[in-house]
Subunit: 453 residues, 2 copies
Amino acid sequence: MKPSIPKGTRDFSPIEVARRTYIFDTIKRVFQKYGYQPIETPVMENLSTLTGKYGEEGDQLIFKVLNSGDFLSKVDAQKLEAKNSKSVTFDISEKALRYDLTVPFARYVVMHQNEIAMPFKRYQVQPVWRADRPQKGRYREFYQCDADVVGSESLLNEAEFVCIYDEALSNLGLQDFSIKINNRKILTGIAEIIGKPELIVDMTVAIDKLDKIGYDGVVKELIERGFTESDVEVLRPFIELKGSNEEKLAVLKQSLANSPTGKKGIEELETIFSYLTSFKLNKATVELDITLARGLNYYTGAIFEVKSNEVQMGSIGGGGRYDDLTGMFGLKGVTGAGISFGADRIYDVMLELNLFPESAVTSTKVLLTNFDAAAEKYALPILVQLRTNDINTELYPASAKLQKQMKYADAKQIPFVVLIGEEEMQSGKLTLKNMQSGEQEKLSVEEIIKKLK
Amino acid sequence: MKPSIPKGTRDFSPIEVARRTYIFDTIKRVFQKYGYQPIETPVMENLSTLTGKYGEEGDQLIFKVLNSGDFLSKVDAQKLEAKNSKSVTFDISEKALRYDLTVPFARYVVMHQNEIAMPFKRYQVQPVWRADRPQKGRYREFYQCDADVVGSESLLNEAEFVCIYDEALSNLGLQDFSIKINNRKILTGIAEIIGKPELIVDMTVAIDKLDKIGYDGVVKELIERGFTESDVEVLRPFIELKGSNEEKLAVLKQSLANSPTGKKGIEELETIFSYLTSFKLNKATVELDITLARGLNYYTGAIFEVKSNEVQMGSIGGGGRYDDLTGMFGLKGVTGAGISFGADRIYDVMLELNLFPESAVTSTKVLLTNFDAAAEKYALPILVQLRTNDINTELYPASAKLQKQMKYADAKQIPFVVLIGEEEMQSGKLTLKNMQSGEQEKLSVEEIIKKLK
């Protein structure tokens, strides 16, 4: 029997865990700096909590957990005979694995509404599961890394999200990335003045291709997607929108002058940009992009998306404002906004750019060799002394040939080895070997501690 | 619709996550110090990986995941008609939630045997799921916190496990706890000289009651459990075993003189104790306890159990050596040893003893008030300055009455509030309020930073 793991899932080796922890810790640290606090929710939610929240396709992708015990006993015999999997599902399954962190968060806010202080700023870094077809970079189990605030309409939150992206990704070593920002109300405004709200997404998809297919290509596609020649005339300033954020805003102001919703969207963007003049960014470029339509059914105000400009990769973050997070659980009038970091993609970007510091990987700092019982006995108090000085130390657990012990240190990427042989025991000067340079020095224990701390 | 969560599962609030993180980080730090490295395995394992590993009762308690899509289509119609839940399970479910961290670790070692360096020392802190009846302190989703070494017979590992328990629990603030140690071979030895190996567990259960029911009570129970009068005579030294570890070992040596296995067990214990004379312990008491029979079907050498002596509570840790971890997956001859920390119980002990430091809880350090647009504008650069100095800072996101903002700071346990009113803006001296003492001071931003860092 050859063991395996379910497709779309992964084991993480020590070096991978260390690197992932480095990413998560860096992001969490920034979340905390901005007043966000951690919560954790159970991996299993009631199936009824999750169904109907992700559309019909989403419902299919939820992993359901089989009821315990004699789960078939109460199922209608005819249903079973008909082999109606869909309707039997709810008879034999009451629980499911969470599909994202947003619905559990909404459920949490409603269940704990009497304990939490509004505005409630929470972050959550936990895995989610989707029965998607696995492919390169898409897994059935993956971590989400979310920060959301509920109970505050203030656009300061949106501005701070931009800062959080900037600070976290800069701290991780990214040198060049764009935080794209849009506002759902601008898209609604454009749809308003054309009178085709149902074509918003088609419009953004077509306009987004300007760089690839040129103005004529976009026009052709717009027509194919159901716009008229006169619609295209109205859309012209939006298709050709370019320049700095200020220049874009000026054009939008003019073009959306007759749409109250559109004007509201522009106003919101201006407020966010105004906050950002106070918040000096590190490495991020903020870019108004009216083709950004991510999660359109969901967002009601700002929409964010983050992309690396150093590596070809999908978005490494996204989010926005949603006006009614908890309505699905009967608590009305709670507005919220949130962002998410795509940890798996950030991992790939950092690997490609070689951004993981060595300190994020090393675990054991020094290995003490073990050649025989006398040397082991000699090594024990040294082992204690090094550990007391907070130096991660191992004593090779049995006497063995030098080569075997060096191989162990190499495989584990232990940077230093202390050789304890006859000569060392007599002189009290131990041989410290730097595994990378190969350099060796004779040092006392105190000198070794000083060197390694 | 009132949302709820599955029974036996829990939401963790910010303060709970912070405290749990404090426990996990403290333990992980010690694991690393002793050369253990983290791995992570998927929440879902193939059902075939898990079944047959935990006994028949255990198999019942595994949460199974329903196959996606039309899961009934290929199921035998007669099986469905007969409503045979047990046999249908394997037709409609191929995956399951992990039940512990040991079997996934064994699976990991076998799958990754060509990448890992032996001895392989890994730790793993992840949740597991069991469909047990939930009760006080027993959950269906709970974290395990394990360290195991495979591929090393050295008893140095066992001695270091004692140190790890000692250091981690001492670092968490526990002042008085016992690490009980036994050896499976001693129990086997006793059974050998009586000739009733099948009664080992009965024997340990009866002897364990000496303090409660006295010598005569233990003898009565031994007879009830199937021992003869002459068995009891042979068992006498084991029942009456007391004194220091050295005294106990002396008695055992005499009583087990004719059992080669028993003598081997004593020798192993002596080696461990000998290592421990080099490793000075902090707060732990190490106690040889021959009634310790924890996981008897499993362990082949040392057996550990840890108990707090300050709080009435079940064991807060346990482990031992097992000679054939990976045999179940076809890789023979890999010996291992491991320990586990009971994080939920440690949490309860620490809460009862008030051991959580404030630093493990606080998130936002200071709140800047927001009374109107002018004050907000004034506050923005201060907000940036504080954060640049790595101080977790929030600006109340909208102008509001003082009382509301103070209530927010209170609810979130924010220790400092900076009041920014007319006077403060004019003088440049801000009012820093200590929320615990109520004390207020007028300080410049630089002075505030100095004070809060």
